[in-house]
């Protein structure tokens, strides 16, 4: 009787409060660029790239877990910590790079909105401004909690991809074998195959995710004590992301690749091409999924960027503050949306090149972010007993090494290509 106040309701709220940031971050990871890469990977190489999903998942879990743990233990954002430990100049340069990278990503998201709605015959001159305004209002005028509920609900639409994969009637045995077997030596030497591996890793582990996840953990007030539940949120989120990715690859492999139609350029092409092969519903689902992914990421990326930059440079930030309390935060947020959306309205803009460039910058920035994260998570003054374990460090440094190698390879192939 004494503790009636701490009833089931508050306990339920507590567990709901912990399930969230990791899952959302991972879900947004499958954005327009990601879905494009997965579709092309499946269409061009069938089931032979599915093996990348297991190592990518391991790296993704390790990296995301570090960001979440840092947020819970220190109660500070990633850019806060970088500022305090590495100084103003490093922070400024990193924030500059992050704004450029994320602006590129935002353009890609609005491109995703435009192309998915063009499949339903909505012109981009209508869809892009409306989507930009919608995103702005959703985040600025709503409180963080209700915004997050909308986001959580929206990640349910990702099940579309699983259904699309099932409707495509894939060869399950070949898909499973492709997932667990090593790549063949001749595949690895193929130029186009390597580029695709680079793309898959690059699109799955992105710099913005680390900043966004850690900031969300801090904003939610998750502490070291509650961290155990958050870790599960992060891990489940990573698996969710990669399972969806797996199904997208499988769907495209079973249809486009099997029918000998590998030449698609982006996710909208994939949806268009799926229509006669997998039926009307698969097509609609694929397009709806792409639209949601793009809109979802378009609402998170500008917020994430504004958070990171304002925290790092010591400006007021947070969705729980009013516009006049955190003007720099909201202005940066607004300019990123307006800037990202207006690029698409320029007639004849080379979209493919902008998207490719944003992927390169993503890849160049990521190793730096990871190295900062590793140095922070190994700092005992900061993390206390929650410093990285040896196994953790090995996996994380291996990820950094692979990412740097892949990034150099990507830059090299880009230069070679052009």
């Amino acid at each position: 009787v004494l503790f009636l106040r701490a009833g089931w309701k508050s306990r339920l709220l507590l567990s709901l409060a912990v399930v969230g940031p990791g899952f959302i971050t991972a879900a947004v990871d499958n954005d327009a660029g990601g879905i494009a890469i997965y579709s092309i990977a499946g269409a061009q190489f069938g089931y032979s790239l599915l093996w990348t999903m297991i190592p990518i998942t391991i790296s993704l879990v390790v990296v995301q877990e570090m960001a979440a743990r840092m947020g819970a233990v220190t109660g500070k954002g990633l850019s806060d910590l970088i500022r305090e430990e590495f100084g103003l100049r490093v922070t400024f340069l990193l924030m500059f790079a992050l704004v450029i990278t994320n602006l590129g990503n935002i353009v890609a998201e609005f491109a995703g909105v435009a192309s998915s709605l063009e499949l339903f015959r909505v012109p981009r001159y209508l869809s892009v401004p409306v989507a930009a305004a919608l995103v702005w209002v959703l985040v600025v005028k709503g409180t963080y909690r209700s915004v997050e509920k909308i986001f959580l609900l929206a990640s349910g639409i990702y099940v579309c991809y699983v259904i699309a994969g099932l409707l495509a009637q894939p060869d399950w045995r070949a898909a499973i074998v492709g997932t667990v077997s090593r790549p063949t030596a001749s595949d690895v030497r193929t130029y186009g195959y390597l580029v695709m591996v680079v793309g898959l890793v690059g699109t799955t582990i992105a710099p913005w995710m680390q900043f966004y996840l850690q900031a969300s953990i801090v904003e939610k007030g998750i502490t070291a004590r509650q961290y155990r539940a958050s870790r599960w949120d992060v891990i489940l989120g990573c698996f969710f992301t990669d399972i969806i990715a797996w199904f997208v690859i499988v769907a495209c492999a079973a249809t486009l690749h099997a029918q000998g139609r590998p030449d698609i350029k982006d996710a909208a092409d994939a949806a268009q091409a799926l229509r006669p092969l997998a039926g009307e519903y698969a097509y609609v689902l694929f397009a709806a999924g792409l639209f949601n992914a793009s809109l979802f990421a378009a609402s998170i990326l500008p917020t994430s960027t504004a958070y990171a930059v304002c925290e790092g440079l010591g400006l007021e930030s947070g969705l729980d503050k009013k516009f006049h309390e955190a003007p720099a935060f909201y202005w940066l947020y607004t300019l990123l949306i307006v800037g990202g959306a207006s690029v698409l309205l320029i007639p004849g803009v080379p979209l493919i090149h902008i998207m490719a460039l944003s992927q390169v910058v993503n890849g160049v920035v990521l190793p730096f972010v990871l190295i900062f994260m590793l140095r922070l998570t190994n700092n005992r003054d900061l993390m206390g007993s929650h410093v990285n374990s040896r196994t953790h460090n090995i996996v994380a440094w291996a990820t950094v090494a692979v990412m740097i190698t892949l990034t150099l390879a990507m830059v090299a192939t880009q230069t070679k290509g052009s």
Partner: protein, 412 residues
Amino acid sequence: MALVALSELLGAPVRDASGTVQGRVREIAVAPQDHPTRVSYLVVRTGDRERIVPARALKSHSPTVRATTDASEWESYAPSDGVLLLKRDLLDRQIIDVHGRKVVRANDVELDSTPTDSHLVLTVVAVDVGARGVIRRLAKGIVPSFTLRALLERIPPRVIPWPFVDLIETDPTRRVKLKIAYEGLSKLHPADIADIVEDLPPAEREAVFETLDEEVAAEALEEVDPRVQVSIVESLDSDRAADIVEEMDPDAAADLLGGLSRDRSGEILQEMEPSERQEVTQLLEFSEHTAAGHMTTEFVAVPAEAVVGDAIETLKRFEGGHEAVATIYLTGPGQKLLGAVPLLKVATTAPTVPLAQLAADTISCPYDTPEDDVAALFDKYNLVTLAVVDDHGRLAGIITADDVITMLRQTH
């Protein structure tokens, strides 16, 4: 008198008495035990080690730092807990801007340099939190210094004078040595302290609540967001937490303890004074969303036959919150509620008049009234306080209008 920025001094070459450059400035130390704002020494990185150049040996700082002593006289530097190192402890760190009532980040530190007969006196005067400090540091060594100076003069300064700066130090022993007491912070309104604390990371929140005076800490804690409240109390020692909880309004204390784990609230209750513990335990038994869940047991009650003078005497001895005194309740044997008199009538009537003559219709509600109905009663009768009675009509507690506002804001 001239101003010099910390970032200009850091890395500056240091010449000794002979005029040769012996090293570069790495840190600037203030020893609060000796003087709260005056620079005590510079830490200079010479070829092989770090050395101390005492402030009394400084002659000038521009364009290079000049010392009046020979480098061989400079002692080796050993880290010490008792000094404030401006770069390590202040630059890029979060500080509390007491005047602006918020948490900000230090972009640079402004020092005043005044030459005396024998040496240069460097004093910390302000913390730069604006664009000027950022640009100075980003452009240092890239833009020629005279161009930079001209550019910086065009940027309006955004500085916090040193007396309005409260440092955040999470190590308790260092806090004592550095004489950090959150004096500025504790003078703010509890609601402002709460806002500041909510913006701090958990370890820093704990530091503030370990240091603040119990009464101030209790008032501030009442205003803090419930979720943050719980994390603060979880992080404190049980006896410190109990000291703070005892000072809180019983209803707020009960709400807080109700949000904690059973073990934790048990420990805290154990550490509390018996009388406070009993009050809070009683309140804990009620459901959160009823009248009893929102009531406080600190109210003003006098016997029904009392006169105005008696009420004033009771008010003088009353220790509860000022919201609770708006109404004086009249009770009969066994705390039975018989009437209520508004404070205004008591204040404007002669001391000999019996209170019963001033009593109006008394609005009260049973303790299990749902909170929506409580709000409706406040609305309908334009109440400032509402009496809560038990099954036998005994006055159990009162609900004040501010509790109703909090309640409504939580549900919407």
